[in-house]
Every structure is written in C-alpha cells, then in structure tokens.
Amino acid sequence: MSEGPEQRKRPLSPRLSIYRWQPAMIASLAHRASGLILVLFVPLYLWLLHGMTGSPDHFEQVQAWLHSGLGKFSLWLAGISLFYHFCNGLRFLSIDAGWCESRRILRLSARIVIGAALVASVLLAVMF
Amino acid sequence: MGGIPTNRFGEVVYNGPEGERSCAGLYAIGEAACVSVHGANRLGGNSLLEIIVFGRACGNQVMKRLKQHRYHPALDKDCWQKGVERVESWLGELNRSGGSDCNIANIRLRMQTIMQEHFSVYRTDEVMREGVQRLETLAAELPEARLSDGNRIFNTELIEAMELENLMSLARVTAAGALARIESRGAHARDDYPDRDDTVWMKHTLASIRDEHVKLDYKPVRVRPMTVESFPPRKRVY
C-alpha cells in the first residue's frame, strides 16, 4: 500500500512524555541506568586499581582520593548501582526462568527491588 | 429468529413471480441471516449452529461459485452514485437549521424509547398501534436531522447517521410485523393473544419498505429436515 500525502502528514501520538511511570517500568529503566553507571565506573575502577597496585605513593594518593568528597560519592553511586543491578538482575533471571511470573508477583517484586535500593542508598550514605 | 432470508448454502433468497429464487453471489450468514432452522426465539446456542454449520456451508458455496465464475459481470458504471448521493445528502445539508432536537443522537434516543415503551416483552394491540404511529412520525422527522461534523476524514457522526437510517427501517418493519402477528410465539408475547396459533401463523414475516410504506408478506417455515424424520412442533412449556 503506497502512502498518500495525507497519510505521511499524520502526527504521531504522544508516548514517553505522557505515559505514567509504573513500578515495573521504573525497575526496568533503572536497571539500564544502573548498568550504564557501572560501565562508566569501570575506567575509574581501573584507574584506582592501577594506583593501588603501583608504588606506595600511588596507593596513598588513591586512598586519599577515595576519602575525598568526589571519591565517596563515586563509591556510593557505584555501590547502589551495583546493589540495584544485582537485585533486579536476580529478579530478571528468576522471571526468565519462569519462577515469579504472576502479575501480582511481577508488580510486587518491582516494588521490592526499588524499595531495597532506596533503603540501601540511604544506609550507604550514612555508613560512609 | 429474523434476518435476511437465505437457503442452506447461505445464499440470499427472494420471492419472485416463479417462487423462491436465490440471488447468485449474495450471501448472508450468522446474526444477519435467517435460514429458517431456528424457532421464533433468539437462543444462546443458535449462533453456534450458524457459525459451525452455515458458516462452513456458505464458505464451501462461495468457493464453488468462484471456481465456476472467475469474473463478475461488468458493473453498471453509475452503480456508485446512490451510495455517494446518500453520503452527500448528509454532508451537503450540514448547516440546515433544525434545532437541537434534530441531531442524530436525539432521534436515535427517541426511537429507542419508543421501541422500549411500545414493543418490549409483553405487548398488546393498543400499545403497539400507538407505537407504530409514534415511530412513523419520528421516521418522517429523520430527513430533517442534521450533522454538526462536516469533516470528510473518519466522520463517525456520518456513520452514526447512516446507521440510524438503517435502524429506523428495522424498527419500522419490526413494529409493523409484530402488530400484524396476532398470536404469541417465541419472544413475541402478546397479552391479548397469549396462545400460539400454528394453523395460521407458522410462517415467516417478510417485510419491505416501498414508497415510504412498510409492506408485509409471509412465507412458510421449512419443517422438513433432509436426513431425519420430521417431528411436529409443540408448545413450549416451562
């Protein structure tokens, strides 16, 4: 079917801007976001590892940076990203395996991982 | 169960001068059709018979006919005009003054109300006679109805208007047929004629609208099954 000129002009109905965020959708997007943060954390980690396995001077520098504000924040961010990615990853794996596939459990588990990540982020912030 | 009369192959039939003729290539099945196998009531399981038996029979008949007739005869080159005229008559008279009582939804609601008040489950001659009158008056108003939407793309108000025209015709023939049938049968329950009368009324009502008037005709019910013995109809009791 060839598309007439009127058809090509048809507007696209709004989507992301109007769709209401629901726990499962947040859980999925947060999985992506946390994964992305973890990937970005890899070069930082390598830089740290490089420093820690280098000379004692290097080690001290890394220690000092880790205890700086930026260092603490990076660790915190990577920590909760990993925690969330880990928890939701287990959730995804169990769903793939077909264990927790009822509508109720899917909703509940999304709430649980998001809630757990929020609690963990606060705890982590307090601990550092 | 009413509908477009068909034979057992799903082909639409009509009464010509030489008796019943089938209209080649025109089919009706399901809720639209009346093969003359159901009783006067619309029972839940009837649709299964329509789907499983007559749906298949009709499909087979369509295939058979298409194998014999690969091409349809040339269409009359003006055949589209009636349809277009019908649409244009609605769209063309868009801004005609008619008052708020003359919109589609209002007339439809009034039609539904008349059918509800005068042709509901238990009926009498007096009530139905008044109903037919009210309905005919309303039907005469229908040409005055107007659309508020003149858009030519996906105009659902236009569709509703055309549906209303069809519904109005159906309401009129239903009402006239019910008034004329002086007995009780199936879903047609009359307080003034509570009994079934098989000697006179075991027949289908054939209704048509000609020159703005409802015309009624009748044809016999098929009572002879093809492969098993026939059994005489009996009164249904609860």
Binding site: R10, S13, P14, D96, E101 | S148, N151, F154
Partner: protein, 236 residues
C-alpha cells in the same frame, strides 16, 4: 445539579492539519458506575458531534476503544470514571499515527499480528472428527485466548515505541505463544524459527507496561518469556 466531570481530550483535525491540542469538556456524572466511554458519548451526542473515537460493543469485548487514559492505556468502555483523577486526560494509543482525534491507524499493528500466522498449522491428515484436547491441554490456552487485540499492550511498550517497525510487540507475541502452546498446532519449530530474532522477540526488556495496560488482565511478559524458554530448551 449533578456532579460534573472534567475531561481533557486530545483533538486533531486532519482537514485543518493543525497541531494536535487538548480540549477541555465538562460532563455530568449521569449514573453510578459510569464509564469513560459514557462520558465520551455524552460529549459526542450532546456537546460536540465532531469528537471522533472508535467504539462498538461497549463492554470490553470488541477492543475498539483502546485509549491512553491518564497516562495508562485501557478500554474506555470498562474504565470507571470514579477511580480517575480529574481532569481525565484522554489521548489516543501512544506512538501511533493519528488519523483523527482519538482514532489511530492500526494497520501496522494488525500486520504484525498477521506476521505470526495466527492460525492452526498441521501436518497430520485431518482426523475424521475433531482434533481433541485434554482439559489440561485446553487449560494451556488460558491467558492467551482472551486477548481481544485492542492494542493497549503493544502501544504501551517503550521497546515497541523505539523499534516498532521490527519488534513484534506484546500483543502479537502473546498470540504467537498462544499457537506455540496449543497442543493441536504442529508448527512450533517453524514458529520459533520465525521469532528467533534480536528485534522481533528479544526486544522485550521486561518493562511490563503491557501487563499493566492489558484490560483483560493478561500477562504478555510471561508469554514472551515462555517463548524465550521454548527457544532455550530447543538449543540446549
């Protein structure tokens, strides 16, 4: 005077070609248990005959009036007004070409349904009577056969928004699974071959908007995962 309901409805007039805009309406609460479709009908029949939307059975069976209601997809005819925050934002199904107002072009959606070949495929000769199923085999179809193809799930799926040209979407995949789990169908291998593609099937990232949107309370996510497991079982 009865209670008034505030609505904000998506309007687009293809003849004017203007940008779509939201239009406000006020509708009286006419009866307890009033549904959103009743409000739309009131607008069309009493206030503004040009408002355009699809509707048919009015009881959640035909799947014509799938809409985005306050940000979530659902059927107008079975969505009670009472539970909705006002003004009720009514928009067409997301990420679809708008024909007019709330009416969208469903062609691509049904093309995708057609792509999964939604009919019984068999190799064995047709038996003299029916192809019988045990009650357990029949029960496998629960959760799939109820789908009315309203499009609420597919158009709620972000993966389908981004890659709808290639990702089949929840509705088509739920139906694909319906034939895969059908004991009478003999083309599971062929069906899985057709689906095993990083876009057609594996674009599902378990966002589960489909499940939240489904007016028949089905679970397309689980159906998609079941197809993935069938492919996994075949490979390992």
């Amino acid at each position: 005077m009865s209670e008034m309901i505030a609505l904000s409805v998506f309007r687009y007039d293809p003849e004017q070609g203007d940008k779509p805009a939201m239009q406000a309406y006020k509708v009286p609460m006419s009866k307890p248990g009033m549904k959103l479709l009743d409000a739309l009908n009131y607008i069309k029949w009493e206030l503004d005959g040009s408002l355009t939307y699809r509707r048919s059975c009015g009881e959640g069976v035909c799947g014509s009036d799938g809409l985005n209601i306050n940000g979530v997809n659902g059927l107008a005819c079975i969505t009670p007004i009472a539970g909705l925050k006002q003004p009720i934002h009514v928009r067409p199904l997301p990420s679809m070409q708008v024909i007019r107002d709330l009416v969208v072009d469903m062609d691509h959606f049904f093309d995708q349904y057609r792509q999964i070949q939604p009919w019984l495929k068999t190799e064995t000769p047709t038996p003299e009577h029916e192809r019988l199923q045990s009650p357990e085999q029949r029960a496998e179809l629960d959760g799939s056969y109820e789908c009315i193809l309203c499009g609420c799930c597919t158009t709620s799926c972000p993966s389908w928004w981004w890659n709808g040209d290639r990702f089949l979407g929840p509705a088509a995949l739920l139906q694909a699974n319906r034939w895969i789990v059908d004991s009478r169908d003999e083309a599971m291998g062929e069906r899985l071959d057709q689906l095993e593609d990083s876009f057609r099937l594996y674009r599902c990232h378990q966002i589960m908007n489909c499940m939240e949107a489904c007016p028949k309370e089905l679970n397309p996510t689980a159906a998609i995962d079941n197809i993935k497991r069938k492919i996994l079982a075949r490979k390992s």
